[in-house]
Subunit: 463 residues, 2 copies
């Protein structure tokens, strides 16, 4: 039997694209504990959630039994504009590293939002429209999520208010402009359009804002506006569910060529990309059908899995959201300035947290300059300029490929390349100018963050 | 026989990708007149050209007989990183326009350079390397060509000096940064690294530079550096040849579904994209095998085909290049500031000029605000934020589709979507802010440009 030639890029046909998402929770013997209402410290009811989120998303959030959840035709109609994404055999990276490993990456950057975020934006905007809503709100920091949701809102005909962290809106005027071009309303936060914003402005005149504040404004606007709901781009189970198209397509593309990965690697911020990429592979592992080494990669500046605690914490720094059981650095943890804005989240998806806690995946934390070294090497040999977030996965994949070389092992490595770095060139400039630094929190920094974890009874036996 | 479903995106497989370029000149009964050496006003010899350009490119430039010119494996190895590009059925644009026409676009923006320019950059860098050269030079204005060449130079291991118009380098620091990230040396022009640059700096201290000046510096650097040549991104026949992969892939993808275009539309600056897109279709038309309506689209602010003269002119404003017989507004013509930087060229490819002169294609000129109206409509329904240059083709395609609607005709329209607008958001901001204007040259403006056309004997019977 001769080895079959594997093309540089593997595309599924339109017919081969997944018609259902993959709900990894259907395979988890231990589910993550429920969200708690901070007022009662009791599990959130559907009604608690329905004031904030779309009904269909809440159903998905709470579904622990169905492995497959059909993707409505109206979402498939949107997906076909930018999906399937290519699965690329990194022939040139293998050559550069002189490794016996085969390296594959799933590239989610070939759409105008520039990242995988569009997979969930499409779904959530569709469901909002289907529910008869007329508008949605969200927050955005770096702007990838805001762009993705603006594209989806334009496609489905929904009004969208994006609360964009003021300092980001000023530092990234072009990100703001893409969002505006798609017809969304960009409001630098804090603003005078909400009580939460006005309060912050009174207390801290001239503040540049924060993601926590932008979330507060977006949620307030949603719950106080008829026919409006709030939409979130990561962390929650239904967002991971939507992102499972990444893993499903990757798996189908590999299987077309008789391949199975030995190692699957993704970067982790809130966990939606990593959770989506690993979903169908993890489902098999949970059933004892494979022994894949799953590696989540986080920045050393914001090491929620590798150095965080597994407790109930708020999802936002303003402490207005439900409590989630997750690995967290504390909702008051302030990560140092780094260029991977999408990975600067204090917590981690409850699903990923539970799987990590149960030993089904491992995590590594990487320093920024090493990550950019990898990014530039990759850009030069594979052509794609990666987002700083995605470059964390590239760097870890290169580490694993070099380990294969040392150990003489021919493994199949799959990693997720979540997006492009076209709006991150200030970061690359710092790298090119050799002025980039690494800032890793000290134990004392972490203790300060942990002090912000709520001291509710539910946590008292755990801390 | 039932109508076959046409997928949203048609991808060729790696095996189906073109293995040879298409040289439309092999089908032209009338070849364009040769380049002239301005010193002698006699046709350029190979030696004239060999001091400036790579040998293989000169061979291609002068080849009028071979329809197919094989693409070396070393270039195919690079092409497979970003090719094939998708041919997209614009279902949602058709729906928006409620047209009986079928609209297809060939999308060349899914690579880090953001445009089709990489097709020729790859070829020219490969040939430079194969010739044993160690470095290449070029100029760049908006930066797409500079980015493409930097990517190709990194891949093949060549040193690259990019003379970037100083005002562009300052206004587009991120474009500059992508080029630097790929390891190229960016020199804001005019610079003190060349005699031409020093002369300009003495005469006009504080100038922001011009494309003409950057060309002069890049050519001087190339001819004065051992093992170095100059590389150009458009206008020349060999560049159009390399871009024929666009047309070949489009034709193959359409034929897979039994389709033939009735109308083919592309934007035109120097003509490389349009020339590449139409090449194999035009070859058939020249042989009397089809009656396709070819439409080149130029900005009303720089209307070289629709309002220019067909004469010998310099290719650059500094008057140091060979003379080309082409439609031109005069090498001294200064187009008004517009956002389609890639279309602000005073002349037009000699091949396109000859075909236009002989009646094989037509040209339309569009105003900037109409073009941006079309761009934003397209972005919202098809998902892709187009480059301002590419939006010219979109706008013309929409015009033709609406004409089909009025006339009740079900035509097949193919247009070239050359690139993305991620680095053009200052332009979109102007559009979103309603501060964009149209500037169309008056007849007096044109007369000023025509006055810069050289008064050599060769032109005296023609003007």
């Amino acid at each position: 039997m001769t080895a079959k030639h594997i093309p540089y890029k593997i595309y599924l046909s339109e017919e081969e694209m997944p018609k259902a998402w993959y709900n990894v929770k259907a395979h988890m013997k231990t589910q993550h504990p429920p969200f708690l209402n901070p007022a009662t410290q009791k599990p959130c009811t559907r009604d608690d959630l329905a004031a904030v989120f779309c009904d269909a998303c809440i159903e998905q959030e709470l579904n622990e039994t169905d492995e497959r959840i059909a993707i409505p035709q109206g979402i498939l109609d949107f997906y076909r504009m930018f999906r399937p994404s290519p699965l690329v055999r990194a022939y040139y990276l293998e050559q550069l590293l002189d490794t016996p490993a085969e390296i594959y990456y799933k590239f989610e950057g070939n759409n105008t939002s520039g990242s995988h975020k569009l997979n969930s934006a499409a779904a959530q905007a569709f469901y909002a429209k289907e529910q008869g809503l007329t508008s949605i709100t969200t927050e955005t920091g770096a702007g990838q999520w805001g762009t993705a949701l603006a594209m989806a809102a334009a496609f489905y005909g929904l009004h969208l208010d994006v609360y964009m962290v003021k300092v980001s809106a000023e530092q990234k005027p072009y990100r703001r402009e893409v969002i505006r071009t798609y017809g969304a309303n960009v409001i630098p936060s804090p603003s005078d359009t909400t009580a939460a914003g006005r309060k912050i402005l009174r207390e801290f005149p001239g503040t540049g804002g924060s993601l926590g504040c932008a979330i507060s404004e977006a949620v307030e606007k949603a719950v106080s506006t008829p026919g409006c709901r709030y939409v979130l781009g990561s962390v929650l189970d239904h967002v991971l569910l939507h992102q499972s198209v990444i893993g499903l397509e990757s798996k189908a593309a590999l299987e077309k060529h008789g391949l199975r990965p030995d190692i699957v690697i993704g970067c982790m911020g809130g966990g939606s990309n990593f959770g989506g990429l690993i979903a169908p592979f993890m489902g098999e592992k949970l059933d004892g059908k494979n022994e894949i080494d799953f590696i989540g990669v986080e920045p050393a500046s914001c090491p929620s899995l590798t150095r965080g605690k597994y407790v109930y914490d708020f999802c936002d720094s303003a402490k207005i959201t439900p409590l989630a059981k997750m690995y967290t650095l504390g909702c008051g943890f302030m990560p140092s300035a780094s260029h991977a804005g999408g990975l600067r989240y204090h917590g981690m998806s409850p699903v990923i947290s539970q799987l990590y806690h149960d030993g089904f995946l491992r995590a590594v934390a990487l320093e920024q300059t090493r990550v950019f070294d990898a990014a530039v090497k990759f850009a030069k040999c594979e052509g794609i300029l990666p987002a700083p977030e995605s470059a964390h996965a590239i760097c870890a994949a290169m580490d694993e490929a070099l380990r294969c070389k040392r150990e003489g092992k021919k493994k199949v490595i799959l990693f997720g390349l979540t997006g492009t770095g076209y709006f991150d060139l200030a970061a690359y400039k710092q790298y090119n100018d050799h002025t980039m630094t690494d800032t890793i929190p000290t134990d004392a920094d972490l203790e300060k963050g942990f002090a912000s974890i709520p001291d509710f009874p539910v946590n008292q036996g755990l801390l």
